[in-house]
Symmetry: C2
Amino acid sequence: MPTIKDVAKYANVSVATVSRVLNKKGYVSKEAEENVLKAIADLNYKPNSVARSLYHKTSKMIGLLIPDISNPFFPELARAVEDVALTYGYTVVICNTDEDIRKEAQYLEALQQKYIDGLILTTNQLSADNYENLGIPLVALDRQFSNRVPTVSSKNYEGARQATEYLIENGSEFIAHIRGPYHVKPADDRYQGFKDVVEEQGIAHIVVDCDFTMASAMEVTEGLFEKYSTIDAVFASSDIIAAGVLKVAKNINKRIPEDLQIIGFDGIPLGEMLTPALTTVAQPIYKMGALSARLLIKQIEKEPLDLINYEVKTTIQYRETTRSDT
Amino acid sequence: MPTIKDVAKYANVSVATVSRVLNKKGYVSKEAEENVLKAIADLNYKPNSVARSLYHKTSKMIGLLIPDISNPFFPELARAVEDVALTYGYTVVICNTDEDIRKEAQYLEALQQKYIDGLILTTNQLSADNYENLGIPLVALDRQFSNRVPTVSSKNYEGARQATEYLIENGSEFIAHIRGPYHVKPADDRYQGFKDVVEEQGIAHIVVDCDFTMASAMEVTEGLFEKYSTIDAVFASSDIIAAGVLKVAKNINKRIPEDLQIIGFDGIPLGEMLTPALTTVAQPIYKMGALSARLLIKQIEKEPLDLINYEVKTTIQYRETTRSDT
DNA sequence: CTGAAAGCGCTTACAG
DNA sequence: CTGAAAGCGCTTACAG
């Protein structure tokens, strides 16, 4: 690999001059510039980004902390982040934390040592300080942990309200909500939306706790149906949970949506592959990822942000696990 | 962030001495070592990996080139690579190439400029030279493009044979194979396995082409069933294709598995979420990813490899889209 | 056992 | 407009 010295020698100028044409910065005579450009082309020279990093203390890399890329919600998000990053010349490093505080800390340290330029967080086991002390731009995606950090999330509360109202409009009279983990903001908000609607309208309901995994959902659902056989609708806090509910419901021969309506949350591709296809409150996942990346890069490049809190709208995807309300 | 200089000053030694204790290399007196260690602890010093990179021309980063992380086959693979990498202190950079030659070239260049230590390839649009000229260790995963490059793949041919034999044992007499793209080695091998079995046994069959996407699978399947209504089994080249077949078959009210048996290939989690749950030839996806990472790191660290070609076994996951053969 | 010095490949004041 | 020099934070011969 040729270095800037080789280019300088070949073009009969100093390395400073080569650097100037590389960075289009400072005065360079037409002639010198041409020679340098020719040298670069002839030698197929590429500036070494590690050396640049060392000087600038930046890396053109951004980090993306997620719980687990195997969870189907995240690949699309990651994909969006990467697409935008690539456009602006950034490389993204995806870190699976498993919501484990030690893994998170380990990654944070590794990223910092690499002069990472910014970080998108969809998980936060550490305290806000730990992230802010990194001294780099941050974006909180689908989470919220500090009002100084720009945040992208969807209208979880409103989406949950709509889902619940829709179940009620379609005639359900005893609705279960299978909620996600406590202190995970989206799960809390969805729960709150559900609760407010059923209480306002005086609808019989029950809430049970669950992880965002299908195994956990199936276990919880089995217990639920055993105890409360008259449940006629389930609002699940995620599509993965809804898939578990659906599986169990079919196993015990509930007719869907006649006996039981199910509505999920997220809008991952899995939903439409199921039979019956899953009705769900869809988040614009790709858009959220792309927006986060954009916000992060704006901060890195010292551009002003219009807003600090971005809330995107959800849309109900009407499919086959709910009855039509017409 | 403190630097090695700060540590040296604090410990009253030279930076060379600090470096020696950092790298456990060269002679350092007990006393000096203790002072340095204390200084490191007191200042919370972390060596800067960019500076190390510049000197060593290595980065403790490995690249993973995949077509698209949104394709459900890859997250698990990526996850495995990352888990192993983390264990050995490497960071992985995932690159979505969309099988696009220009994106691939762009990533290759970016990775090279960052002194990436090695590369795992699940896609190869460029010629083998382009990768080998990088001068870094490589592993080909689920692809094969040069006999100098260590390769990890599953026994696609054998798996396909087993799948086909299983359908025949269960009484199918007219079997369709929906094959993946040409010149993608796994797709070719699966096709060959299918073809050999049906020809050996004299079974009526038909082969149609398809992409590894559900949309493409649905389109192809619709045409197929229209033309050949007596098809009584489908061997799909991937689970995503199989999911598309299943969807279409249910739409036109085929009973599964009574009227139509379906078997996929891959063993992605989606398969068991479907109803009926998909019978499939499962690859040990996580294991393949982990093995690739291990092989790559062995090469990076100049350890000898036992083999150059690793072929892992597939296993049929008997689920609900095939009839039992007992 | 230890430090001064050169070097990894770049960038940018500074002087001319 | 241009080059010599210092510096980014490390590592490693080299000399002592």
